[in-house]
């Protein structure tokens, strides 16, 4: 329990939180805008990893795999929203079950296409090294993960705060009916958000593939953690997703290191506490 331990664990938690942010920010926005509990979000993450593997196998380029996988998953999300979710209208229960149905379909499809083996996405050589700062070894890949989350977070924040589209999204989050009333095409906004959420999850899947691996069952393993982030941070809030990711990333890492027996409890207990004190999460609004 020396400085070494604390610095490395904090760094690991931070980088894990960065990965979670990619996954959870989309989930949170989808919930905020559409009030959909998307249980297929873990599947987007997993499929992102698998598509990236295919791209790497055929072209050999990891750098190409990042955008291609994310875009493919965005298209999958877009189709799912347009063809299946939109026609249901607003009905949380049926929407949730529909996304579960898709999660099962995706799971089987992934098994058929990519097989049941555990796979790893190998990043380019330069990312596999470690940087030595002040006597501590920091894997470059984890630094890259944090950098990626920062960049995506910044882009999302600028889009949300500084653009017309962002204003439309925020209006829809706050009051969809009113937004429609003032002429915002909330259906379009929903479509965009769902595709964006899928894009981010797919991207997370590629980046996480080097770190968590890509394997059948990853989808339902990562999903609850993403939900913990969203619930802690507050549904529909970008800042909430960022803070929630950080908290969950740190809680998960220190929990596993300090109290392995109840490590999931250290992850979910803060969530339950926050639910009890502020049911809408830290940054959520009623």
């Amino acid at each position: 329990m020396d400085t070494q331990f604390w610095v490395i664990q904090a760094f690991n938690g931070l980088s894990y939180g960065a990965l979670l942010f990619l996954l959870a920010s989309g989930l949170s926005l989808i919930f905020g805008v559409m009030r959909i509990v998307n249980l297929a979000h873990g599947s987007f993450f997993l499929l992102g990893g698998y598509v990236a593997l295919t791209v790497i196998w055929t072209t050999g380029s990891w750098l190409l795999a990042l955008p291609v996988a994310a875009l493919v998953i965005a298209v999958v999300g877009l189709l799912m929203e347009r063809v299946f979710l939109r026609p249901l209208g607003f009905d949380p229960l049926r929407q949730v079950l529909l996304t579960v149905g898709f999660a099962f379909l995706f799971q089987q499809a992934a098994l058929d296409i990519w097989g049941g083996d555990n796979r790893d996405i190998i990043p380019p050589g330069m990312l596999k090294e470690s940087a030595v700062i002040g006597g501590f070894h920091f894997p470059i890949y984890r630094v890259f993960m944090i950098g990626m989350a920062l960049v995506m977070g910044l882009i999302l924040w600028l889009t949300m705060e500084k653009t017309r589209l962002g204003a439309m999204i925020r209006a829809t989050v706050d009051d969809a009916e009113m937004a429609r009333g003032v002429g915002i095409d909330t259906s379009r906004v929903s479509m965009f958000i769902f595709a964006l959420g899928a894009f981010l999850a797919g991207l997370g899947g590629v980046i996480g593939g080097a770190f968590l691996g890509v394997y059948p069952g990853l989808d339902f393993a990562i999903l609850p953690i993403a939900f913990a982030v969203v619930i802690i941070g507050g549904m529909g809030s970008l800042a909430g997703a960022a803070v929630g990711s950080l908290l969950v990333g740190l809680a998960d890492n220190f929990g596993k290191a300090l109290f392995p027996e109840i490590s999931y409890f250290t992850l979910y207990a803060p969530m339950v506490l926050i639910l009890a004190l502020k049911p809408t999460g830290l940054f959520g609004r009623e």
Binding site: D91, L93, G101, F102, Q108, P224, S263, Y268, L275
Partner: protein
């Protein structure tokens, strides 16, 4: 109006299950037993979803509490393997209800989609403990139970165990039926339809929903005790999100607000998961397909089909609205 006829059909169907099952293949007996256990879980969820309008995404948690309690008592203390099976049943119901009483404090006040989220999160807490608390739960490997209890009758025999589970199923169905027909059940339906109006009429709607939540937890715990002995193994697999979601599908597929619908749905889902999966490798396409198709084309569930064919008096549910048919409740 034709409630009497419905009861006759139900009794005939139950009698058919009771008489035919013991003479089927040994695998079918196990399958039907599992289906009946999940039917108890599905009916407990129907009290929440179909009657109180609370779509819980964490019902597997109560099943898990009952199952782990049974497994831990049996392996650590050799308790519940003779006549003490009965106290374990009672304890299972109590632990399910107590867990629900705790979880309900966090979730019942929330409405609609928030309730979905919170119950999902609470269910995950139970999963997390089951998965990680190795010294108590055996972690990923779970707990293997000793042979089933024997107290004069040998539950190790699958047919005997089937009769026992069938008995529990019928009693559960009867108790829940009386419950939903009681003034309390009627109030729940009122809350589902218009909570504000019920509150204005002077009902403590939170308390009604909270009690319903606890009752559902109790029946979930009962299903857990039976499941532990039926399966012979209790593992985190039993409390995963997919189990909770399956329970929801059972209710929605059969028809929310009908009790029996959940039992029919349980039969279908158990058949898909346990039987079809042994026949074809692509069974999950069928399961996923059932989810998607049932949601898109069967808003009132299977129980609504006879009404639809008859060109029912009840207005067909508008798209995006999955209210159970009125005739199924009154």
């Amino acid at each position: 109006m034709d409630g009497r006829r419905k009861l006759m059909i139900l009794a005939a169907a139950l009698l058919a299950v009771l008489l035919v099952t013991p003479h089927s293949g040994s695998y079918i007996i196990v399958l039907v037993t599992h289906a009946l256990i999940f039917a108890i879980l599905a009916m407990s969820l129907d009290i929440l979803l179909g009657f109180a309008g609370l779509p819980s995404l964490g019902q597997a948690a109560y099943l898990g509490m009952g199952a782990y309690l049974t497994a831990i008592l049996a392996t650590r203390f050799q308790f519940g393997l003779d006549w003490t099976f009965w106290p374990v049943v009672a304890l299972g119901i109590v632990i399910g209800a107590a867990t629900a009483a705790l979880f309900g404090l966090f979730s019942v006040h929330a409405g609609g989609v928030y309730f979905l989220m919170i119950t999902l999160a609470l269910g995950m807490c139970v999963w997390g403990l089951a998965y990680r608390w190795n010294s108590l739960t055996g972690g990923d490997n779970g707990i293997v139970l000793p042979p089933r209890p024997a107290f004069g009758i040998q539950l190790a025999d699958d047919v005997t165990f089937f009769y026992l589970v069938f008995g529990f199923f019928v009693v559960s169905l009867a108790v829940l039926y009386v419950l939903v027909k009681s003034p309390f059940g009627r109030s729940l339906v009122g809350i589902r339809e218009n909570e504000l109006r019920m509150r204005i009429l002077g009902y403590n709607t939170w308390l009604h929903k909270y009690i319903a939540f606890i009752i559902a937890g109790g029946f979930g715990g009962l299903a857990g005790v039976l499941w532990a002995h039926a399966h012979g193994l209790v593992s985190p697999e039993d409390v995963v999100l997919a189990t909770s979601v399956d329970a929801l599908l059972m209710v929605v597929l059969g028809g929310p607000g009908t009790l029996v619908g959940g039992a029919i749905g349980a039969g279908i889902v158990v058949f898909l998961r346990e039987y079809l999966s042994t026949l074809v490798p692509w069974w999950q396409y069928v399961l996923g397909g059932v989810y998607v198709l049932a949601i898109l084309y069967l808003p009132g569930g299977l129980m609504s089909i006879p009404e639809r064919i008859r060109g029912s008096r009840a207005p067909s549910p508008r798209p995006g609205e999955a209210k159970p048919l009125q005739s199924a409740i009154h």
